[in-house]
């Protein structure tokens, strides 16, 4: 035995993290010292007991709650979207990425809708706030129990009065998304109606509607929706009559834009 066994070495012995020669020395020391042997045995027993506890159902229940499964799916989509981006853009902070996309596409904006697929949030603070809020509403939406049909109808009635429009939740079932619930969100740009959708793969979409005048004024009525990314979420937004809308999800941007286009077409028919 070359030297005394330190406390951290006993701990490292339990984990097999000591160099092999030192492992041997600690083992030999424990054989000669009953007290050290007992300490080591107890440390090993606690280590194994914790491992056993971790494997028990108390700590590892089999079922994953749906809300966590949905957030997990959203994260996987966000990571895949991020993974597909060029490495150089990943090095930029998110706002800079957006600004660079804006700058790169600004020149093409005059070519029409197809080219102007990126938002230009700097054009209007209200619009930028609306996009921020929409992404936040989507992100923090707790996946509450689905409203009953009657409760949803009641919320929609209230929203219809509030919006002075007949609001019909857009039908996205042809794209595999069904309406989960309807809600009202308090945002910095005023009250917003929110329609939450999910598909069988637990991917979530949130459609946010606003009556905020500055936001509405910064958008062209009936123009095809534009799309941007916000902290890994795709946000497609536009204006339909006197309502500004934003559809938010972790799907690829073209898909969200397409869905937003379909949603807008049936918004207040």
């Amino acid at each position: 035995m070359s030297r005394q066994v330190e406390d951290w070495e006993l701990s490292a012995y339990v984990d097999g993290e000591l160099p092999s020669h030192r492992m041997e020395e600690v083992r030999a020391a424990a054989e000669l010292d009953a007290r050290l042997r007992r300490r080591l045995d107890q440390l090993l027993a606690d280590h194994h007991a914790l491992g056993e506890l971790g494997d028990s159902e108390q700590f590892q229940p089999r079922e994953i709650p749906p809300r966590l499964a949905r957030y997990g799916a959203d994260l996987a989509n966000a990571l895949r979207a991020s993974d597909r981006r060029p490495a150089s853009s990943q090095l930029l902070p998110a706002p800079l990425t957006v600004w660079r996309q804006v700058a790169g596409l600004a020149a093409a904006a005059a070519l029409g809708w197809g080219a102007a697929s990126w938002a230009a949030p700097q054009q209007d603070d209200a619009l930028s706030s609306f996009i921020d809020e929409a992404a936040e509403v989507h992100r923090v939406a707790s996946v509450a129990p689905t409203f009953s049909r009657e409760a949803s109808a009641s919320v929609i009635e209230s929203l219809t009065r509030l919006f002075a429009h007949k609001l019909t939740p857009p039908d996205l079932s042809s794209e595999g998304f069904s309406l989960d619930r309807v809600d009202v969100a308090a945002t910095d740009t005023g009250p917003a109606a929110v329609f939450y959708y999910t598909d069988p793969e637990a991917r979530r979409l949130s459609l946010i509607l606003s009556l905020d005048t500055p936001t509405i004024d910064s958008l062209d009525d009936g123009a095809a929706p534009r799309v941007t990314t916000h902290d890994g979420l795709a946000v497609s937004f536009g204006r339909h009559r006197d309502v500004a809308y934003a559809l938010v999800g972790s799907l690829p941007e073209p898909n969200v834009r397409l869905l937003a286009s379909r949603a807008a077409a049936t918004l207040n028919n």
Binding site: Q42, A49, S56, F59, L68, A73, S82, D83, Q90, G232
Partner: protein, 176 residues
């Protein structure tokens, strides 16, 4: 498991959260907060990075910062109810010995409890934990050794362990 397979890590995150919170509902809320933050920071995840460690790091920091906030508000550990609410169901009854270890673990400061759980339950190395917690590896080894020794003493009813490590109101106190 694919490189970006989040679902494969969900159960491990929940397990770690349960060891930290000792309350199933609070643990799942902690995991949800973790996922929300991860979605917001998806751009920051390096493609060559370790997704498991990245998620554990977010969860750990969320828990620690929440605990600190709770301490500042003089409501110790209120992000995770450290009391009842997580009693095992009869069919999940664990052996008395295991419960004793669990009870002792609960009495350790969170910085020791967390490294012990990450090593003994999650099978992480001290290098991985140092990377996850942004700490020198020597600090992790020291916390682990001190935590294990305290756990050993508490589990065996050795007064020396309880005298130096007792959590009152979310703070470590020296009781002489």
């Amino acid at each position: 498991m694919t490189r970006l397979d989040v679902t494969a890590h969900l159960q491990r995150l929940r397990r770690y959260a349960r060891f930290l919170c000792r309350n199933a509902a609070d643990a799942d809320d902690l995991v949800q907060d973790t996922l929300v933050k991860a979605i917001a920071r998806a751009d920051q995840f390096r493609p060559e990075g370790d997704l498991r460690n990245w998620l554990f790091s977010i969860l750990h920091n969320t828990f620690v910062s929440g605990t600190r906030t709770a301490e500042r508000r003089s409501r110790p550990l209120d992000i995770c109810d450290n009391g009842d609410g997580f009693e095992p169901q009869p069919e999940q009854e664990v052996r008395l010995e295991l419960r004793r270890v669990l009870a002792a673990l609960d009495r350790l400061p969170v910085e020791q409890r967390s490294v012990i759980v990450l090593v003994s339950v999650e099978g992480m190395t001290t290098d991985e934990i140092a990377d996850l917690m942004q700490l020198p590896v020597g600090t992790v080894r020291s916390r682990l050794a001190r935590g294990r020794e305290a756990l050993r003493r508490l589990t065996r009813g050795d007064g020396a362990g309880t005298a130096s490590l007792r959590i009152v109101g979310g703070h470590d106190v020296q009781t002489g």
